[in-house]
């Protein structure tokens, strides 16, 4: 099966670049999978798990936070503020994420911002639960 080009970039480096068959992205409005010939879309990301199969058929999962996915002309570019392989995620990472989210919640001024921050905190807490087991 033919694949498409996928690039995962964080501010510090290019994490992955190559052909893949399928990528599952945690979008703000729900997870979605991108396959070949996907319609062009730009979506914001929520903190969550991104998974894809590389050319060797090995499945990779990463924790991503804050950023965008840009799908166009059989290229998928994911810009993530932070991307860490799930296997490398430890309690410290989660502590840090929880701390960031809590700070955001405290700093939120409008009703909307508070709701978003609270959602984010909840998502991270759930994730932590999932990864631990």
């Amino acid at each position: 099966m033919a694949g498409f080009t996928f690039e995962l970039v964080s501010p510090e480096k290019l994490l992955f670049s190559g052909d893949v068959e399928e990528v599952v992205i945690p979008g703000t409005e729900g997870d979605f999978a991108v396959l070949k010939d996907h319609a062009p879309v730009i979506s914001a990301l929520r903190p969550g798990i991104l998974s894809f199969k590389d050319s060797k058929g090995e499945k990779q999962t990463l924790f991503v936070r804050g950023g965008f996915a840009d799908v166009s002309a059989n290229t998928l570019i994911v810009l993530a503020e932070q991307a860490v392989p799930l296997a490398d995620m430890n309690d410290q990472h989660f502590e840090h994420e929880v701390k960031l989210a809590t700070e955001d919640l405290a700093a939120a001024q409008s009703e909307d911002a508070r709701r978003l921050a609270a959602e984010r905190l909840a998502q991270i807490e759930t994730l932590r639960g999932v990864v631990r087991h």
């Binding site: 690039e7 970039v9 964080s10 501010p11 510090e12 480096k13 290019l14 979008g27 703000t28 409005e29 319609a39 062009p40 879309v41 730009i42 979506s43 914001a44 804050g66 950023g67 965008f68 840009d70 166009s72 002309a73 570019i77 810009l79 503020e81 932070q82």
Partner: protein, 293 residues
């Protein structure tokens, strides 16, 4: 006339200095390689983000819904200058050229009757500007404890700038840093970050943008993209700066080493001449003493 002993101490002290500058040059060369690599690693993110931004900005520019970070406050009264410099000296004109650019800009703005506020990132810039602009400097960000600049450092500065913008503390923000061109050339640059300057679209780029779906809508994406873009610009400025600093230090230390070498050569010649003169003098004394007998 300095004595032989004086000359000897002078030569050995110059030799010691040369060793230090040589070591500093080699350390700077090693650090430069790393700084350059991380500056290059950040480039794909910045360019991708830019292309998304260009696409989005096109569709909202001019509409009343455009976020303030893009359209500005409508005023042009208060300017914020974010001056990024190094934490350490001994790197040639690196710090002073950035500070000079910022100073010129600040004075020009003040002459126009505008209010200027300055945030200094890096100790050296603060040192250079605080005498003249003690009142204007509102904050000093110290990165001395940071060994390798991460996105988080930049993000903190970016958030700080945006928080001040939201409070209405300034209308226009400009970032000062040195762009890394080569080891011997670093260009002090002023870059406006608020309101965001959207580069004109590349006419060669494929025009399939109308078909884009946005999730959530365009304004929401733009609202979360713009703050990130500012943090990213601060981040790439800091990385460029880090590379420039090491480059500047490397060439400064290289010429210092060369100067020390010249100095040693000159002093050694002087020392040998003096020694020879002393020997000749003593010989003359002995010979004329013997002849007198």
């Amino acid at each position: 006339m300095p004595s032989l002993k004086d000359l000897r101490t002078r030569i050995s002290s110059v030799k010691a200095t040369q060793k230090i500058t040589k070591a500093m040059q080699m350390v700077a060369a090693a650090k430069l390689r790393r700084a350059q690599a991380s500056a290059e690693a950040a480039r794909p993110y910045a360019s991708r983000m830019n292309s998304v931004l260009v696409n989005l900005a096109e569709s909202v520019v001019g509409s009343p819904a455009a976020p303030r970070l893009l359209s500005g406050t409508g005023n042009n009264k208060t300017h914020l200058l974010v001056v990024c410099t190094a934490e350490r000296g001994l790197c040639g004109a690196f710090n002073s050229s950035i500070a000079r650019l910022a100073r010129e800009k600040a004075l020009a703005l003040m002459a126009e009757g505008k209010t200027v506020k300055i945030i200094c990132v890096g100790k050296k810039g603060n040192d250079l500007l605080k005498r003249q602009f003690a009142k204007e400097i509102i904050e000093f960000v110290d990165l001395r404890s940071v060994r390798y600049i991460g996105f988080e450092n930049a993000d903190q500065i970016g958030r700080n700038i945006i928080a001040r913008f939201d409070k209405g503390e300034f209308d226009v923000a400009t970032l000062f840093f040195a762009r890394f061109r080569s080891v011997i050339q670093q260009i002090p640059t002023a870059l406006q970050i608020i309101p965001a300057v959207v580069p004109p679209k590349d006419p060669k780029a494929p025009v399939s943008l109308a078909a884009y779906d946005y999730e959530p809508d365009e304004t929401a994406i733009l609202a979360s993209l713009l703050p990130r873009n500012i943090s990213m610009q601060v981040f790439s400025a800091l990385l460029e700066n880090a590379a420039s600093e090491q480059g500047a230090r490397m060439s400064a230390m290289d010429s210092a080493t060369r100067n020390a070498g010249d100095m040693i050569k000159k002093q050694t010649i002087k020392y040998n001449r003096q020694r020879q003169a002393n020997i000749t003098k003593e010989l003359i004394e002995i010979i004329s003493g013997a002849e007198a007998l």
